[in-house]
């Protein structure tokens, strides 16, 4: 009946773009409307930049407008000393912004959540203070005046109009490129669950700095152009927190994390700001503050996603289901090739690990080994330190003392993704999938290594797609490939999580309560998978409370109590060990299992 939505959208965008390009050349254009459009383009560029760090990556910054000032001042200062047109100097503004973003990013991307927001606010005001208090360089509160452009009156606006229009197009292009690349998937993974992203091989430190830089560079260039447009810059105007608010409002209204959201938002917010300009004192603020509050409270997704969802609902459910396929062969898993590989040597060694949280010693001088090729169980009463041990091994926590060795190599000082690259995977007690992504996207997200070239690659390549499909078949979740991960049941999520890890070709898999909270059939399935993988050479370390599963599956079994390993050995030895019975199983257990065993 109607055109496919994608085609309709593209036609609409094409029309608008052509309109914008031709607008100044039409007779009825006037300088005022061009000025408004110039400011819209500028807001769209800044909003696009903000969207990268705060939309895709999830780090909300209230200080991105600082880069506008940085770009503006770079051009302003240079134009005082060099007789080059400021428009040509504008790219240098972008470079300055990028450099400062890299330095700043390296330092502040270590913080999270509200700390990050506060720091960005402080950064903005600090930049303003620097501009004010270093008059020798920046002219202080007097600001810097740039020369008037010397081209004719009729065309005076055009260079600014087209520069900023071009920058806006660049901003959208950058956003589009990021979204469809591996880099973009990594950013979204960081937004959804940063620690999980690190655990599956996303080198979060580099990704975050890059994201921050990408968000700053175009804003810097725009700042340079805009400075020339105003012909006057001063600290208060260039480092204005209200500009940051406009940026946030534009992106939130348009749709955070979407491609066109920032542009749509800019086209709504700026004219609104202009229209309310002539009104009485304070009403302007009330309207904007109120609008932001309304958006945060009632429309946090923004317009674009809401309209998309509305449209999708009208046209019915998308995406056909994939037919279920019977798992034929388990997917070959390459065993870990260690040059020092010798049979029976421990793959994982814990030596005298200690971890304290305030007054509580969660792990107290714990040592044990996991033999290569084994399925080792780790049991113990609640609070004995099992999850903490996992965190120490996988890199989510740092030990106070002691060492962890993987294949003879010391890993306790490594960041989580490096441990992933060495072949260690880990699941979580409460599954951590990227809920907004589809099952398929989740499985393709892990990265077995880091390279700069890989960042720019397509989010999903051919071989990866094939492998992901095979792994999903293997765990039996193939028919759910295009479902949103957040919609799956708990047991289904566990299977997907396992598939995720298998993408990394791990030699060691840490399973945190794989049988917890799922039905018996699913438990059997899980056990089945573990056995199959183990036959192919994958070593397992499993934390579990489900005793029949542990005792039937694992050999050896380690027992943890009060943060240390109190016993280890074959399952039947553990069952009979009085210390273990004392600490955990309780005296009645031994008799109960005797009754169970035939």
């Amino acid at each position: 009946m109607t055109l496919p939505r994608r085609g309709l959208g593209r036609i609409a965008i094409g029309l608008v773009a052509t309109g914008l390009v031709l607008y100044p050349l039409i007779g009825s254009a006037n300088a005022y409307r061009e000025t408004v459009l110039i400011q819209i383009f500028l807001l769209a560029v800044m909003a696009g930049g903000w969207n990268i760090i705060s939309g895709y990556t999830g780090y909300v910054s209230l200080g991105q407008s600082a880069f506008l000032g940085i770009g503006a001042y770079t051009v302003g200062i240079l134009s005082m000393h060099v007789a080059v047109s400021p428009l040509l100097l504008a790219p240098l503004g972008g470079i300055a912004a990028a450099l400062i973003a890299i330095i700043l990013g390296a330092v502040i991307m270590r913080t999270r959540g509200h700390s990050f927001v506060i720091i960005t606010i402080a950064f903005l005001f600090l930049m303003q203070a620097l501009a004010l208090n270093l008059p020798g360089i920046t002219g202080g509160s007097n600001g810097i005046t740039l020369p008037l452009p010397d081209w004719s009156n009729d065309t005076q606006q055009l260079p600014f109009y087209y520069s900023l229009l071009g920058l806006m197009a660049l901003s959208v292009a950058l956003s589009w490129w990021i979204r469809r690349s591996k880099f973009g998937t990594g950013l979204i993974a960081i937004r959804e669950d940063e620690d999980k992203a690190a655990a599956i091989g996303v080198r979060t430190s580099v990704y975050k700095i890059l994201s921050f830089t990408a968000s700053a560079v175009l804003i810097g260039v725009a700042g340079g152009v805009y400075a020339y447009f105003l012909t006057f810059i001063d600290p208060r105007g260039m480092f204005d927190i209200l500009v940051s608010v406009q940026i946030v409002l534009a992106v939130l209204l348009g749709g955070r994390g979407t491609l066109w959201g920032p542009v749509v938002g800019a086209f709504i917010i700026l004219p609104l700001s202009e229209a309310t300009n002539a009104s009485s004192q304070g009403t302007h603020f009330v309207l904007f503050g109120g609008l932001l509050m309304a958006v945060v409270l009632f429309l946090p997704q923004g317009l674009v996603p809401t309209l998309n969802a509305f449209w999708a609902r009208r046209r019915g459910e998308p995406s056909p289901r994939r037919p279920a396929r019977v798992a034929a062969e388990p997917v070959p898993v390459a065993p870990y090739e260690d040059p020092h590989d010798r049979d029976g040597l421990p793959l994982l060694e814990l030596e005298a690990l200690v971890k304290r949280f305030g007054g509580v010693t969660a792990v107290d001088d714990c040592s044990f080994e996991v033999r290569r090729g084994s399925i080792t169980g780790l049991i113990g009463p609640n609070g004995s330190g099992k999850t903490t041990i996992f965190n120490l091994v996988s890199g989510m926590a740092r030990a106070d003392s002691g060492r962890v060795l993987l294949g003879g190599e010391r890993i306790d000082l490594m960041v989580p993704w490096e441990r992933a690259y060495l072949g260690m995977g880990r699941t979580f007690q409460i599954t951590r999938l990227f809920r907004q992504m589809t099952v398929f996207e989740n499985v393709v997200a892990p990265l077995p290594g880091f390279s700069w070239r890989q960042l720019g690659a397509d989010a999903v390549s051919g071989p990866e797609a094939v492998r992901a499909e095979e792994l999903l078949d293997f765990v039996g979740m193939a028919e759910f490939a295009s479902h949103q991960a957040g919609h799956l049941s708990f047991g289904q999520q566990k299977l997907v999580e396992l598939a995720q890890i298998l993408m990394l070709d791990p030699s060691l898999i840490l399973l945190d309560e794989p049988a917890g909270g799922i039905n018996p059939t699913a438990i059997d399935r899980m056990t089945d998978l573990i056995v199959k993988l183990n036959q192919r050479g994958v070593t397992f370390l499993i934390v579990e409370h489900n005793m029949p599963m542990v005792l039937g599956l694992c050999d050896p079994v380690m027992v943890l109590a009060d943060g240390r390993c109190i016993a280890q050995g074959h399952p039947h030895e553990i069952q009979a060990n009085p210390a273990v019975l004392d600490a955990y199983l309780g005296r009645g257990w031994g008799e109960a299992t005797e009754r169970l065993e035939v």
Binding site: A31, T145, F229, T231, L272, T276, V295, F298, T306
Partner: protein, 408 residues
């Protein structure tokens, strides 16, 4: 259902706010378009940091419009004023003037308040070859860009605002002249040059600078500075203030128990009752300030201006900013009437070549648009402000010196 409901609510809320915003803006959408009026457009900071003086300047423009229209208008036509709010923001002021020029198509422009806003705004006017008479904005940078359409409607630029004060101090006999001075100033493009100008002149005259500081505009606590000035033992203080800081500094002086024998402050003391209410009427005695205008000076239309202002605004005495607005409009009016039309180039040339009589006195400009006259030196005496210099415009013969101690 709940989620859909809240999304619907969200869209409704947004639509409602947007509609409210658009409908509340309305005005400025072009007048009746009849050729029988002359449209003058201006932007002023009616909200934000400069809203106080901005509001006053608006009143000044409005009183001028009222008086002019009552007397037959400009070139026989009624004057229509379009005033936009730039919210003390530079981006807004640029689009405001673009809008006035291109959208509203006004015949004449008047300036906004504060150098920070007038700097970008005057560039828009210059790019569009329109005369730009500004009521305020005397920072040196305004006049160093080679603009030809710009005119500053006060007597002198910032650096020379304190000339008469310096001259007065240096004219005092040995025993009475202060020997040490302190120069605190806000980091403001207008206030700071005034104090720099005074300091240069007094240092050249042999008065030792024992303290100077530049504080950021956000400073709200002046106790430490006051304490430091007191510790320096300065006999004269020349303070570059905007408004709130002027009040704050005086209060801090009172708190630390320090009263300079000679005290000059920019801007704040010219705000008549707001100033005296804030620091206490008795405490105003002897404070010097430079001002562009005084209600009692015998200058053309001054009495009418004061009377009309009082009648319209509940008997309040006009603030200096209102008078500056009025004067700027007078300058424009004089040039329009002298050239008999609205040709911007002719108006520009006229103003460069001639002087104009305003309620501030006679004004004339050099080729950069900077005025050539001198500010009035005023002093608070007996709870009222008086002009003490220059003598031909003075409203009193007496000069209070030294400044008495704070009254508390």
């Amino acid at each position: 259902m709940g989620r859909r409901g809240s999304k619907l609510l969200g869209i409704l809320a947004v639509v409602a706010l947007v509609t409210a915003a658009c409908s509340s803006s309305d005005d400025g959408g072009g007048g009746d378009g009849d050729g029988g009026t002359i449209k003058i457009g201006a932007s002023l900071p009616l909200t934000g940091d400069f809203s106080q003086p901005g509001g006053e300047a608006k009143r000044g423009y409005e009183i001028w419009q009222q008086l002019t229209n009552e007397n037959g208008g400009l070139l026989g036509k009624q004057v229509e004023l379009t005033i936009l709010d730039d919210a003390s923001d530079q981006n807004t002021v640029v689009s405001d003037y673009n809008r006035l020029i291109s959208q509203e198509k006004v015949d004449l422009l008047l300036g906004t308040f504060s150098s920070l806003l007038n700097l970008p705004a005057s560039a828009v006017a210059e790019k569009n070859d329109m005369v730009y008479v500004e009521p305020a904005g005397g920072a040196p940078d305004m006049f160093s860009r080679g603009f030809t359409y710009l005119f500053f409607a006060q007597q002198a630029t910032a650096t020379h605002q304190g000339d008469l004060f310096s001259q007065y101090i240096l004219s005092l006999p040995e025993g009475e002249r202060p020997t040490t001075a302190a120069y605190p100033t806000q980091d403001d493009p207008f206030a700071a040059p005034v104090i720099d100008g005074i300091r240069a002149q007094l240092e050249a005259g042999g008065i030792e600078t024992v303290y100077q500081t530049v504080y950021p505009p956000e400073t709200t606590n002046f106790d430490t500075i006051a304490s430091d000035i007191k510790a320096s033992g300065a006999e004269l203080v020349a303070h570059g203030a905007v408004f709130e800081d002027g009040i704050g500094m005086i209060r801090s002086f009172q708190k630390v128990g320090y009263s300079p024998a000679s005290f000059f402050e920019t801007s704040a003391p010219s705000n008549s009752s707001q100033f005296s209410d804030a620091i206490g009427l008795q405490n105003t005695e002897g404070i010097f300030y430079a001002v562009s205008w005084h209600p009692d000076t015998d200058t053309p239309l001054n009495a009418e201006f004061v009377a009309a202002y009082k009648a319209k605004f509940d008997g309040a005495v006009p603030a200096e900013d209102a008078a500056d607005g009025f004067a700027a409009a007078q300058v424009l009016q004089a040039a329009v009437e002298a050239t008999g039309g609205l040709d911007q180039a002719a108006i520009r040339d006229y103003l460069h070549a001639n002087s104009v009589d305003t309620i501030l006195g006679t004004l004339s400009w050099d080729e950069t648009g900077a005025p050539q006259q001198a500010f009035l030196l005023a002093q608070w005496q007996d709870g009222a402000s008086q002009i003490v210099l220059p003598e031909d415009l003075a409203t009193t013969d007496a000069i209070v010196a030294p400044k008495p101690d704070w009254a508390s």
